[in-house]
């Protein structure tokens, strides 16, 4: 009796999946050419990219420049963009410690994005200009997403005092758009 019921359930689920109710991705139809001509050959899905902001030097001052980088996630969001930045290298050197990751990303009702970083971030060291470049890059990258007005950093769920011994991370940081190389 029980076996019979299970069989009926399997049949129902299979039918529901065939009817289009399954969340599994379906193959994309090739776009049709205007006028009903020969359809273009099917292409693999485009590589997903995210925009990040990275520190650059302009007239010996730290500024931020936009970069587009490839990510493996199919639908990248702020967490993926921030992780791409954590992995970013300038002149072959990592900006952030090896293994540093974003554990969680959320935005509260006041527009404060909370970025919870993994404990590896505590290995960071650098001068104040280097630290400012790294932190402002994180803030600007997070602030490109809707509803983000400021950014607060946590380390493994706990309050961070600082990153490299200069910045005050006990309060949220507001993105400074003066730092952008291309503001318009």
């Amino acid at each position: 009796m029980m076996l019979h019921r299970r069989f009926r359930l399997l049949v129902f689920l299979a039918a529901a999946a065939l009817a289009g109710g399954c969340a599994a991705p379906r193959p994309q139809r090739a776009p049709e050419t205007p006028g009903g001509g020969i359809p273009a050959p099917e292409k693999p899905a485009a590589e997903a990219r995210v925009t990040i902001f990275v520190p650059v030097l302009v007239n010996d001052e730290m500024r931020l420049e936009r970069r587009s980088v490839a990510v493996t996630s199919a639908r990248p969001g702020p967490k993926e963009a921030l992780e791409a930045l954590l992995d970013y290298r300038i002149a072959g050197q990592r900006m952030f410690p090896e293994g540093a990751r974003v554990l969680d990303f959320s935005v509260d009702k006041d527009g404060v994005a909370v970025v919870d970083l993994s404990p590896e971030i505590q290995e960071y060291s650098g001068g104040s200009m280097e630290e400012a470049g790294a932190l402002n890059a994180l803030v600007m990258t997070a602030a490109q997403y809707d509803g983000v007005k400021s950014v607060r950093f946590l380390c493994d769920g706990k309050e961070m005092e600082t990153l490299g011994g200069h910045a005050d991370l006990t309060v949220p940081l507001v993105p400074d758009r003066r730092l952008l190389v291309e503001q318009n």
Binding site: I90, A91, G111, S125, N136, T162, P175, D176
Partner: protein, 564 residues
């Protein structure tokens, strides 16, 4: 006053009921009971204990003033905003002065909006104008903002968060100017939009910090003249103005602790401050401003100023400069005066610099330590260089009679909080953190920077004094005394959390081979250490400015027909 009342623990249901009453608007007559509250000034939460009691939201006066970027003057049990109107009820508990946050909002030109235990203080727009190729939007409190571009027609707009308009807004137009129209509107319940319709596509550059009382957007290169002659808008747009300001009067007043210049114009002005470290000259530049009538003659009598004068630049966009020649390190600040069209420029003896400069407690803080190496490069660890300089500076300072305290005298790890906590353990006069820098590109940047917190005038005077001495004595590349708001919207930890004037010295760049070579030289480190102490001593009044001219150095006029 309930200042002696103890805070009741939340053991009964009464606090909850009272909070509900307050939420319903009936809290004004509630008996004395206290519930936690939050205060936001234009979206930024005010630090420290804030609470709701007797229908009022109380917040630490110092935290309110700091978040609003204004000066509060105690007056008995009350406070007054410098240059503002009305008094603010105050109270004191456990040595902390509290102010009625809603009354504070009104006196500071803000708008309080309360919902239960949350008080939001919104800003008003004080002035909008386009002059000298720049759009100036002035608010009564610091605000966060964003800048955007739209086409059809070309326009750049600024959205100001947590700001409200008194009236319905409006528009002014000028067909001949680079900016054809300025529009002011309440775009969302708490967002004001200022839109500048431009004659074509103009590049823009944001020139103000991320939180600013005055938002400045450069909309074109300087060869585009100011919009002038635009017709006034309706009464509701009285805040929208364009063109040249007329400075009606400049008056000098002297007091025991300093001098002040009172400048009155035909509309709000936002002068830029600057100085020449070599001569001790400080000046204020009023962009797009013309002096009405003859320039007054200033005859300073006190010991702070040796001379002062006004210079009118007329070429291109007119500029009025007020120059003051000082005899010693001074703290300067620009504050509001009586009404929106007046500013007051204060030049005063900085905090802690009165009386005998010897025996003052100075905390020297060698940055980093232990596992925290700080910057690394060219075989150097920043923590070691910082400690060497701090030890040498301590030796020099003690020799000169200062009472020097080191936050660390060996290679140990200290939190930043532990460092600033030391300030209250002593009768501290100044806090100086000693660091060296690095950036993402080795061998690119070199030189000395000294940071101060936000716009704090005393800390700026200290940073300038130390910077000037290091550059002059050690020959490093001058990168200036800088506000830490250039690095972060909140500034640097040890500066933000210092209760006394404070500076953070970045002697050189460890990942620059030239700077690193000097940082390995014991003689150089000794010179830097002496220069840091000389900077401190000159701040305290123990050294007069070395290269002071007898008269203010002539400032070259950029235009013809100038009168000086």
């Amino acid at each position: 006053m309930l200042s002696g009342k103890k805070i009741q623990p939340h053991r009964s249901i009464w606090p909850v009921l009272l909070a509900l009453l307050a939420t319903a608007g009936a809290g004004e007559s509630a008996p004395a009971a206290r519930v936690p509250a939050t205060v936001f000034i234009t979206g930024q939460q005010v630090a420290g204990p804030t609470f709701l009691e007797d229908g009022r939201v109380w917040a630490p006066a110092e935290a309110l003033a700091r978040a609003a970027g204004i000066e509060l003057q105690p007056s008995g049990k009350e406070f007054a905003v410098a240059g503002g109107g009305g008094t603010i009820p105050g109270r004191s508990e456990n040595g902390v002065a509290y102010a009625d946050a809603a009354a504070f909002a009104e006196a500071a030109g803000g708008v309080p909006r309360r919902s239960g235990g949350r008080l939001d203080i919104l800003a008003r727009v004080a002035d909008v104008r386009f002059a000298g190729g720049r759009l100036f939007v002035s608010c009564t409190l610091p605000v966060t903002y964003s800048v955007h571009r739209l086409t059809g027609p070309e326009r750049v707009y600024v959205d100001l968060d947590e700001v409200i308009l008194e009236g319905p807004g409006g528009e002014t137009r000028s067909e001949k100017a680079a900016v054809r129209a300025l529009r002011l509107s309440q775009y969302a319940p708490r967002t004001v939009r200022v839109a500048a319709e431009t004659a074509g596509r103009l590049p823009y550059t944001i020139q103000s910090p991320p939180r600013a009382r005055q938002v400045v957007i450069a909309l074109s290169s300087s060869d585009v003249g100011p919009a002038a002659g635009a017709a006034s808008g309706p009464a509701e747009v009285a805040t929208v103005r364009e063109g040249i300001r007329t400075v009606r009067s400049v008056r000098l007043e002297e007091a025991d602790d300093g001098v002040r210049f009172i400048v009155t114009a035909d509309g709000p002005v936002a002068p830029q401050e600057d100085r020449d470290p070599a001569t001790g000259q400080h000046w204020l530049d009023f962009e797009s401003a013309l002096l009405e009538g003859e320039a007054p003659e200033f005859r300073p009598q006190g010991g702070l100023l040796s001379a002062a004068r006004l210079v009118q630049f007329r070429a291109g966009v007119p500029r009025l400069r007020l120059v003051a020649q000082t005899r010693r390190v001074v703290a300067t600040r620009v504050a509001g005066g009586e009404g929106p069209n007046q500013i007051v420029w204060h030049l005063s003896i900085p905090e802690g610099a009165d009386g005998d400069w010897k025996r003052k407690v100075i905390i020297l803080d060698p940055g980093h330590g232990g596992r925290d190496t700080g910057a690394r490069g060219n075989g150097l660890n920043e923590k070691d260089v910082n400690l060497t300089i701090a030890r040498l500076a301590a030796e020099e300072g003690r020799k000169r009679g200062l009472d020097i305290v080191l936050t660390r005298d060996k290679d140990v790890e200290l939190t930043l909080r532990a460092r600033t906590d030391m300030i209250s353990r002593y009768d501290t006069t100044l806090f100086v953190s000693i660091h060296n820098n690095s950036n993402t590109r080795p061998n690119s940047v070199s030189g000395t920077e000294v940071y101060y917190h936000m716009q704090d005038p005393d800390s700026r005077a200290l940073a300038e004094a130390i910077h000037d001495q290091i550059v002059a004595q050690a020959g490093t590349k001058p990168r200036g005394a800088r506000s830490d708001s250039r690095l972060y919207s909140t500034g640097l930890f040890v500066l933000r959390n210092s209760r006394v004037p404070a500076a953070l010295v970045e002697v050189g760049y460890i990942n620059h081979s030239g700077d690193a070579a000097r940082l390995k030289d014991p003689a150089f480190l000794k010179t830097v250490a002496k220069a840091i102490i000389d900077g401190i001593v000159s701040y305290l009044g123990g050294l007069t400015l070395a290269r002071q001219p007898a008269e203010p150095a002539p400032v070259q006029d950029e235009g013809a027909g100038n009168k000086q």
